[in-house]
Amino acid sequence: MFVFVTYFYLLICLLILFYTIGYIFYQRYDHHREERVVKNYKHMILEQQQAIVQGTYMKRDYRKPLLKELKKTKQLIAFEKALHQLDNENVSISAYLTQIEPVIKKLVTHYQEYDLMEKAYLARFIANYAKDSWQDPLIYRTLVSYLDHASIYLRENVLMATYQQSDPKWIIKVYQYLSENELFHHPKLIQDGLLSYPYDSEALIDELWKERQTFHEPIVLGMIGFITYQSDRYKHIFYDMLKEKQINLEVKIRLMRYFEKHHHPKVESLLISMVSDSQEPIRIIAVYVLRTYPSEKAIATLKKALTDASWYVRKNASQSLLAMHVSKSELLDVLTGHDRYAKEMLRYHIEEEEEGGMLA
């Protein structure tokens, strides 16, 4: 029996080996074939681009065969490589891209029948070239329909594509789909993705914020990160939110960080009260953000925080004090005091600052 089973395994493994070797040769052949196809596409795109620039419209009998070819994923890969190479050569192809929008509309519908990976590829292709060229709602409505049973890559690529069109509605639709289906999408991906939005980001922020109740936490966290980078108009809204007691810890931390970048006098007293919060992460961030609110009260709070039980609170407090350019003499009570941790931490940061020549 053992011999029989082993022979069976041997046979299957032999087939895998032959497949692998065959695939290596196929890869080589395919590489050469692709190079030829890319070259042909480049030539064709340049020809069309030139004609469009000279005032000629793209003919229907050009779009039809192009669509027929691009329905084959391999052709689409070669086509994208051609566009990418032209982009790298600084050749302007924007007029050409605008003209092929009808092809993309049909293509996106056709790809509904394809598997998840191919759909993800098309979505990424659209994300790469949609900016200012492909704005038709049909494209994005169809892309949103791809999300059923989508992989993380397809979800991410669909999102990247929606960031490249100007209507926030489609971004909101994707976020709502993710939230309703409790599909995790990392806040960092949400934040970085939103930062790639090339149109009016303030308008986008307002639209997104209006719908925030319909989004789940990772998306809200990403959005707050995005707003922190892009807008200082949310001081009052975030301040009011920060005062709420029921607010989630992660959200609270993100909101606090907003006020490090965007100064809001009202928030100082709130931050000072947070330095004695029972939750360690809140205290850590509060003493960190206080560096941008230099006042006597803030300095006194930070000096007190140098004796906090948490190492990170002490570390951030000493850094914040130095960032406020508090002089050595003002810190003398700590430096000559009895708290070993506070002294140690402060001394190190003073040395560090002195090396940089920043201390007064």
């Binding site: 395994y9 493994c13 032999l14 692998t20 695939y23 890969i77 397809l154 991906l189 190190y348």
Partner: protein, 467 residues
């Protein structure tokens, strides 16, 4: 007497056939799943099914070092060229008796500081701390009293600023995109707490600025056989175990960990030799005990090039250490099997390591002794035995060759005829002779082993450019 021996041989034969059947089935499934997953991954990369961003999570790279004066500067230099936006490098010199720290101090603009260290994990006292910034990357060098590799790693974790850390060996080179690749499972799934990268033999590669220029099979058969071994392990069995988050080892040469989880479990244990496996076992049991959802992933596209032993002496020392480490880790966590017996990580991974990795060498040596005994009593069916040996070896050769060619196509390497010939030779020798020698080495691992000895497993290093 003859009847007793005959009965004994019958029982042994049944046990052996069962054992070999299980083992060949595992290997078969490894190659099958490996082939499917690699082909799928290849398609995913071609079709842009990747999480690609300009900014990823910040990462701390921790390099524990002991007497690494030959390679340390080149290793750190190569780490400064990675395609990654935000990372720091922490080198922990664990009381080297050579010029490891001095080499670093001469080459990089280090300045001594009194940076306070938050001792979340217990480790030996630091003697000096140096900091530098090169290409906007923060470098930290900690000189500390000798305490072993685990102790040095714990110090590195204490110093690390970022929420994820990567451990690499002091002689390792990371491929330019290694950090970008190894963090991708974390971005794709919030439950991922650790990711293992693929470790490959550095003596084969010619690299500039993190990019592979060329790759050749080495002439040294000891190194060549390790290339074949690594291919089989990293491109087959780890991929199979990864299907159910069941890898019990993340090589110390290249792995990524979520810092707070590692700290919560107590960091690296200092009284074990196989600290890398022990940590992963502890992460599994910690998360299972606390009913916390988690994943430990394997990312074969994240590649690290690590130096392999070039002499029999070095390889025997290395394998003895690995084997003792395996033993220590497996016996320390029997709860894996008893408490979580319905989890695949227990009844597949844990049992696999017990049966085939830990007991395997003993079973193989016992098998050889039984054959000799059977021959003595004229109970050996010689043609059948030869047939069995040939089938088994042929099967091993086939699996190794498949892994070799899979690596070629998944990593887009250029294939040379001479390399194919060398690979076939290495694969044959490895399966027919080398593996039995290593089994013997493993069986004798415990001779001269002292439980509390915390030595570093050093092998003779070469400068990277000498390859």
């Amino acid at each position: 007497m003859n009847l007793f021996v005959e009965r004994f041989m019958e029982v042994v034969a049944i046990l052996f056939i069962t054992y070999m059947l299980l083992y060949t089935t595992f290997l078969f499934l490894s190659v099958l799943f490996g082939a499917i997953r690699l082909s799928e991954k290849d398609r995913m990369v071609r079709l842009n099914n990747e999480i690609k961003h300009d900014y990823y999570m910040p990462i701390s790279i921790i390099i524990p070092a002991f007497n690494e004066e030959v390679t340390i500067v080149d290793s750190v230099r190569s780490l400064l060229d990675l395609d990654y936006k935000l990372y720091e490098i922490i080198i922990v010199d664990d009381g080297s008796t050579d010029e490891t720290s001095n080499q670093l101090l001469q080459f990089f603009p280090f300045k001594q500081t009194n940076s306070p260290i938050h001792r979340k994990l217990k480790c030996k006292e630091e003697e000096a701390i140096y900091e530098a910034t090169v290409n906007r990357i923060n470098l930290t060098l900690i000189k500390k009293a000798n305490g072993g590799k685990s102790d040095a790693l714990n110090m590195g974790i204490n110093v690390a600023e970022y929420p994820y850390f990567v451990t690499i060996d002091a002689d390792s080179l990371l491929q330019g995109n290694a950090l970008e690749k190894i963090i991708q499972p974390v971005l794709a799934d919030e439950q991922v707490i650790a990711v293992g990268g693929m470790v490959r033999v550095a003596q084969c590669v010619d690299m500039t600025d993190g990019k592979v220029n060329d790759y050749r099979m080495p002439w040294n058969p000891i190194v060549g056989m390790q290339v074949v071994e690594y291919d089989r392990s990293f491109l087959a069995s780890r991929i199979l175990l990864d299907q159910f988050s069941g890898n019990l080892i993340i090589s110390g040469a290249f792995g990524l960990f979520k810092k707070d989880v590692v700290i919560a479990t107590g960091g690296y244990k200092t009284d074990t030799i196989g600290e890398d496996m022990e940590l992963v076992m502890r992460l599994h049991t910690f998360m299972l005990n606390n009913n916390r959802p988690y994943k430990i992933s394997y990312q074969p596209e994240a590649i690290c090039w690590s130096q392999s032993p070039e002499s029999f002496r070095d390889i025997f020392t290395q394998r003895r250490r690995w084997y003792i480490g395996l033993f220590q880790s497996l016996v320390a966590y029997p709860m894996m099997l008893f408490r979580f017996r319905y989890k695949p990580v227990s009844f597949i991974s844990y049992l696999y390591y017990w049966l085939f990795e830990l007991l395997g060498p003993f079973i193989e040596v016992f098998g050889i002794l039984t054959i000799i005994l059977a021959f003595q009593f004229d109970l050996l069916n010689v043609p059948f035995m030869i047939n069995l040996f040939l089938i088994y070896t042929g099967y091993g050769i086939l699996l190794s060759l498949t892994a070799f060619f899979q690596r070629v196509y998944t990593q887009g390497l250029r294939l040379y005829t001479l390399d194919i010939i060398k690979a076939i030779f290495m694969v044959v020798v490895e399966n027919a002779i080398y593996r039995y020698i290593l089994s013997l080495v493993r069986v004798t691992s415990f001779i001269g082993y002292k439980k509390k000895r915390k030595t570093w497993g050093t092998i003779k290093r070469q400068k990277h450019m000498d390859f």
